[in-house]
């Protein structure tokens, strides 16, 4: 009977997140072998630290991007937000340890405003997220190019610890990233906002019929995304010792989207997880590290990244079950009447 049938269906199905981490494990195993073959040890502290460090920045941005994509939107402005907030942080701190909190606050404040702008343009002006965030990004770019010709501001040495020091094997930046992932997971699982993001991304009409303020949800998602990018910007500032506009050339926009879908989140929204995203980011980070250890041509990395993303999403697409599940009245196999032609 249908319930029994659906229950078994449930049992056999393993979620995208699990798949991501299985893939990650597989990748780690393979990499470990390859590295060992070239006389190295992938799991040496140095390499582990390297993987985590490389994952930190993209990880932060991708967590934010996850919120946006889950809510059925998109954020192409993150790269510019990272750059801007790094500059705001560094110039506000101006080398004075006492001004560090102020600098962080200012950076995050600016970021939040950008997110607010994105969300408002999308919901109120009804501009497609693609164009809205692309446009806002361009606006910021112009401002940065005009206002800051090159690196600006100075981060006090004390605060550079954020970018460089470690607690045991864990780089502080990675700890912050993982903390944000955890926080993101909590937001999605344990707050109304999180639940409502899933709802809006899944079906705006159902969300509306359930009394959810869809606009507010989308705007919040964009603010969160921008905030995460803001944190990444602060990290940049602490690692650079200064703010840099040119960070926006680093391609955080598309890479974060790639990481999110690689993490098993539906590009259309409504399904996915921050944990999965973290998995996606780590996969990319591991590839970076391993390729460096193995001295692989950096451009081959781009090729592989592209292939991996496509393959991964193709796999998820295969596993997609159609939402309108109908009961089967006449299970296949049993035939009455003529044979199938």
């Amino acid at each position: 009977m249908s319930t029994a049938w659906s229950v078994t269906r449930r049992r056999h199905r393993l979620g995208s997140t699990e798949v991501v981490y299985l893939a990650l494990l597989g990748l780690l195993a393979l990499s470990a072998v390859l590295v060992a073959a070239s006389g190295g040890n992938l799991f040496s502290q140095a390499n582990l630290v390297d993987m985590l460090t490389r994952s930190s920045l993209l990880g932060m941005v991708a967590v934010g991007q996850t919120f946006v994509i889950l809510s059925g939107s998109l954020d192409l402005s993150v790269g510019y937000v990272v750059a801007w907030s790094s500059l705001v942080a560094a110039t506000t701190m101006a080398g004075d340890p006492a001004r560090v909190p102020l600098g962080i606050a200012a950076a995050l404040g600016v970021a939040a405003l950008v997110g607010l702008a994105n969300g408002t343009v999308i919901t109120r002006l009804r501009v497609s997220p693609f164009i809205a965030t692309l446009g806002v990004g361009l606006i910021i770019k112009g401002y940065l190019d005009t206002q800051y010709k090159g690196p600006a501001g100075e981060v006090p040495a004390s605060f550079q610890a954020f970018g460089y020091s470690r607690i045991g094997p864990l780089p502080v930046s990675a700890i912050v990233m993982l903390a944000l992932v955890a926080a993101g997971a909590v937001v999605l699982a344990r707050t109304r906002l999180g639940h409502h993001m899933f709802a809006v991304g899944g079906s705006q009409d159902v969300a509306r019929l359930s009394g959810i303020r869809t606009h507010r949800t989308v705007i919040s998602a964009h603010v969160l995304s921008a905030l995460m990018a803001g944190v990444a910007g602060v990290l940049i500032a602490s690692r650079f010792g200064t703010g840099s506009a040119l960070v926006y050339t680093a391609g955080y926009d598309l890479n974060s989207i790639a990481a999110v879908v690689l993490g098993g989140t539906l590009l259309a929204g409504g399904r996915g997880s921050v944990i999965g995203t973290a998995g996606g980011v780590l996969i990319l980070g591991v590839i970076d590290t391993v390729f460096n250890i193995l001295q692989v041509d950096p451009f081959f990395k781009d090729v592989l990244r592209g292939v991996i993303i496509i393959v991964a999403v193709a796999v998820y697409a295969r596993r997609q079950i159609d939402p309108s599940s109908r009961r089967t009245r006449f299970p296949a196999g049993r035939t009455a009447g003529g044979e199938a032609r």
């Binding site: 140095a46 002006l125 009804r126 991304g201």
Partner: protein, 414 residues
């Protein structure tokens, strides 16, 4: 992307939006600068108060400017036939702390990128130089990381090298000056001989900082050439790649200063992203509005596209500032224009390897190793054309690898 709105947005608001957009354009017209009569030391148009915004001074330090211009006339010490080993006004520093005769060294190189022809050419030269030392047995392992022009990635790369503890020396070609200072310092603290070349780092902890004379000199070479070959009052168009890149900003700062004192009219300075199509389009548009007597570029990429704009517009060639890229040199030769090719000595890619060799040998190296930087002029044009006759068009004439084993094949079919 399922959030697009419906087609029910109030018309009034639409109107407002449109007006807003247009007025924004208008606004831009009002505070747009008129470069032609703007003294160089005046702050940039969109600039507001505050050190950050006061960009023209941010990139111009008079002392450095004057030193570099002077250094052009200094005869460098060292073998004239090996410019990559020459040094200008060296302050030699003792390196015995790093002395280590043992062969089988691991040399690590944190490269910014190979994203433009200049870097590609240089990197080939560097690898060939390494091969020589590998054959000698000095170097067994040459590890390279490529940061794809991403400062943060380069920081991680350097951290990884340091953490691995396997590097006997670390060469860094920074993506940006300021941003790499902390990590380079940490590398020094790790006790590594650090060799920085091309762009600098705001610290003096490294064993040596290798670079040609510099951006001011480069910019000045071209600007002075234009000044000397154009009547006062002639028009000059400045084409720049992108804002915020220190070496490029220095080139422009010097040129801007010289132009300001030259009585030449600077029609404008435009950012082209180094894209030929953009360059050609911008030049074409300036030609539509009037004559352009001279072109100053902060890097040679696309200089041919700029010249083509004149051809296609049927205008006489300008006095041209290019670079020692073969495509330009050949165009220069074909068209017999009045031109100069400032040089940002590509052979500097050999020097760090040789510096490492010296350091391990305990020999002294200059704390700041200033390499010669001689522009190519009409006089020596032919010589360089013949020397590099077989080289591809995006090859750099002063690559200085002629006597390395791989020559010429590795540079020809890259």
């Amino acid at each position: 992307m399922s959030l697009n709105g419906r087609s029910t947005y109030p018309r009034i608001t639409r109107g407002v939006m449109a007006i807003a957009a247009l007025s924004l354009m208008a606004a831009c017209t009002t505070d747009a600068p008129d470069e032609s009569d703007q003294p160089a030391d005046e702050p940039a148009p969109a600039a507001t108060e505050g050190a950050v915004a006061d960009t023209d001074s941010e990139w111009f330090v008079l002392a450095d400017y004057e030193r570099q211009l002077a250094q052009r006339d200094v005869t460098p010490e060292g073998p004239a036939d090996q410019p990559w080993l020459q040094m200008i006004e060296p302050e030699l520093v003792d390196m015995s702390e790093f002395a280590d005769a043992a062969p089988g060294k691991t040399l690590c190189f944190a490269n910014a990128s190979v994203s433009n022809p200049w870097r590609v050419t240089g990197f080939i030269t560097m690898q060939e130089q390494v091969k020589v030392l590998q054959d000698e047995g000095l170097i067994t392992d040459f590890r390279v990381s490529d940061a794809a022009d991403d400062d943060n990635q380069q920081i991680s790369d350097i951290q990884a090298f340091v953490a691995s503890g396997e590097c006997d020396a670390l060469i860094v070609s920074p993506v940006t000056t300021a941003t790499l200072t902390p990590v380079v310092e940490s590398a020094c603290e790790a006790g590594l001989p650090v060799i920085v070349f091309d762009r600098g780092v705001n610290t003096d902890c490294m064993a040596t900082f290798i670079h040609p004379i510099g951006g001011y000199a480069y910019g000045a070479d071209g600007a002075e050439f234009l000044r000397d070959n154009l009547e006062p009052g002639s028009t000059v168009l400045a084409l720049r790649i992108s804002p915020g890149v220190d070496v490029l900003e220095n080139r422009w700062a010097a040129a801007e200063k010289i132009f300001a004192e030259s009585g030449l009219e600077v029609l404008g300075n435009e950012f082209t992203g180094g894209d030929g199509a953009t360059i050609k389009d911008i030049v074409t548009q300036y030609l539509q509005r009037g004559d352009v007597d001279g072109i100053w570029m902060d890097a040679g990429d696309g200089s041919v596209a700029a010249l083509e704009a004149f051809e296609d517009a049927g205008k006489p060639y300008p006095v041209m500032v290019g670079e020692d890229e073969m495509s330009f040199l050949r165009k220069w030769d074909e068209t017999a224009i009045t031109a100069i090719a400032p040089v940002y000595s590509n052979f500097q890619w050999r020097t760090p390897i040789l510096a490492a060799q010296k350091i391990w040998a305990g020999e002294e190296v200059p704390s700041e190793w200033v390499l010669p930087q001689q522009p190519i002029t009409a006089d020596d044009l032919k010589a360089f054309l013949e020397a590099n006759a077989e080289m591809p068009s995006l090859h750099y004439a002063k690559f200085g690898g002629e006597e390395l084993p791989g020559y010429p094949d590795v540079w020809m079919n890259r």
